[in-house]
Amino acid sequence: MLKFCFRTSAFLFNSLVMRSSFQFLLFIFLLGISQKSQAQEKALAPENDLCLKCHTHQTFTFHNKLTKKDDKRMMNPLYILDKSHFSAGVHAKFKCTDCHSADYSNYPHNAELKLEPLSTCLDCHGGDKKYAVYQFEKIDEEFQKSVHFQKSGESFTCSKCHNQHYYQAKSRNSSVVGDIVSFSNEMCMSCHSNNTKFQLISDTLKPALAQIHDWLPNQELHFKNVRCIECHTRVVDSLSVSHNILPKEKALKNCVECHSKNSMLEASLYKYKNIQSRSQVGKLNSIISNKSYVIGAYQNDWLNRISILIFLMALAGVCIHVIVRIIKK
């Protein structure tokens, strides 16, 4: 059951190659340092040069053995990789053949290679103590409760949201909330604002997002400053990002869940930022350096107390004055 979710339709780790202990150690090492170097572009494996020579360009040239001439063709846009995004992603140091068949080294590629099932995410990430911190099994468990799995079953793979080539652990590592939000929302939007991709898993047209969210005040601000999953998932404390995407009827519609002193956002969007800041600069600093301001969520105890005290003093002054006025009438 675990496998369905992490099976990918396109490019994934190749467990056969991962058997190489050197590469395996390299992978662990990369995960270890990924917290610091996540968003930085890394040098790509030199073995990839040949693949990327064609797969990062709009056109490619090859020697046609039948005509005995060089042929220049258009590259299928789906197979063009963005090199800078790839080199900023968590799998940047991988060789293409770590996940794709080694037979791809030959050109023309054998058409049947496309039919080979690729490894699932859990093949590399699951059941290993080294990855325990990421809790892939728990993610899978949560995902199976989600509307994505309930509606589409195993055909809804991790890669539907997480592009293996470009993925960055933003919510865990970025200190800029705006980046976390846009990175996360782009995942949702890749299908929910794209009918072609949406119809990979649904026979209907995508819902009109602006229209179904028209009840939400300051819609644009919300879309820009919080993630879709803030309202569309149920927060699980032990997980970095909740994967139980709820059916729309169960999505959060109660403003005060976020707009209150114990804002739900503290446990979701600001979770990692809060943990980081507590150890570095203190909670107040982390709040005042946020780009956004959540009405009702930032209540300071001593400011609250001072304001209540001043208000009570004003009322007490009035009461005393009234009493003296009555006595001296």
């Binding site: 601000l221 707009h259 709040i287 209540q299 004003a314």
Partner: protein, 209 residues
């Protein structure tokens, strides 16, 4: 209404302005408290409604402020706000002395109101501060929060929106304190309701002061 002890203090434009302002500020304080102290367990009103009402009332108060501003420029009402700094502390002390002692001994007020003097020194100072500092400050920060893309993102690593919001809430709180004191002081007179009647019908009974 034509009695000699009554002065036509509050022209109709001023009473309309004051009425709208009073209603708007009451809504703003109520909805503002509801937003600032919102909680899933307890709320005075629906959060979404509070946000919408706060925004609408804020815009109304802003437009109304223009009426106040223009009214003061175009009529002679502005003369009542002129403040002479010389001897101000002494005049304020006299007025405070009256409110805290003289009033109880049934003394005459040190600054009896007349056609030339609509406000006593304490009123003048507090109205000036509220109407020319607090309310414009609230309008500017409020409009900025309505259009947060206009706010400078960071000032020395502190979020511009956060600072604006804190400033807005603090000024709002000070206005709510002013409101409590303003309402109470208005009850000081020959009869506790006299001043409330005056701001409705425009005529102020000076015999009580």
């Amino acid at each position: 209404m034509t009695s000699e002890s009554k002065i036509y203090f509050y022209p109709i434009w001023l009473r309309i302005w004051h009425g709208i302002n009073a209603l708007g500020i009451l809504i703003l304080i109520f909805t503002g408290i509801n937003m600032q102290y919102s909680s899933p367990k307890f709320s005075l009103m629906n959060f979404e409604l509070a946000v919408n009402l706060h925004n609408i009332s804020g815009i109304l108060i802003t437009a109304n402020y223009l009426l106040f501003f223009l009214g003061n420029i175009l009529t002679s009402n502005h003369k009542y706000y002129r403040l002479k700094l010389k001897g101000l502390i002494k005049r304020l002390n006299l007025q405070i002395g009256y409110y805290t002692a003289g009033l109880f001994k049934h003394e005459q007020p040190p600054f009896p109101l007349s056609e030339k003097r609509k406000f006593n020194p304490m009123q003048k100072v507090s109205y000036l501060v509220v109407m020319y500092f607090f309310v414009p400050g609230l309008i500017i920060t409020g409009l900025a929060l309505l259009f947060p893309e206009l706010i400078i993102e960071k000032v020395y690593s502190v979020s511009g929106i956060f600072m604006t919001a804190v400033f807005h809430a603090s000024l709002g709180f000070l206005v709510s304190i002013f409101l409590v004191v303003h309402l109470y002081v208005a009850s000081i007179g020959k009869h506790p309701l006299n001043n409330f009647k005056s701001i409705l019908n425009g005529y102020h009974d000076i015999s009580g002061h």
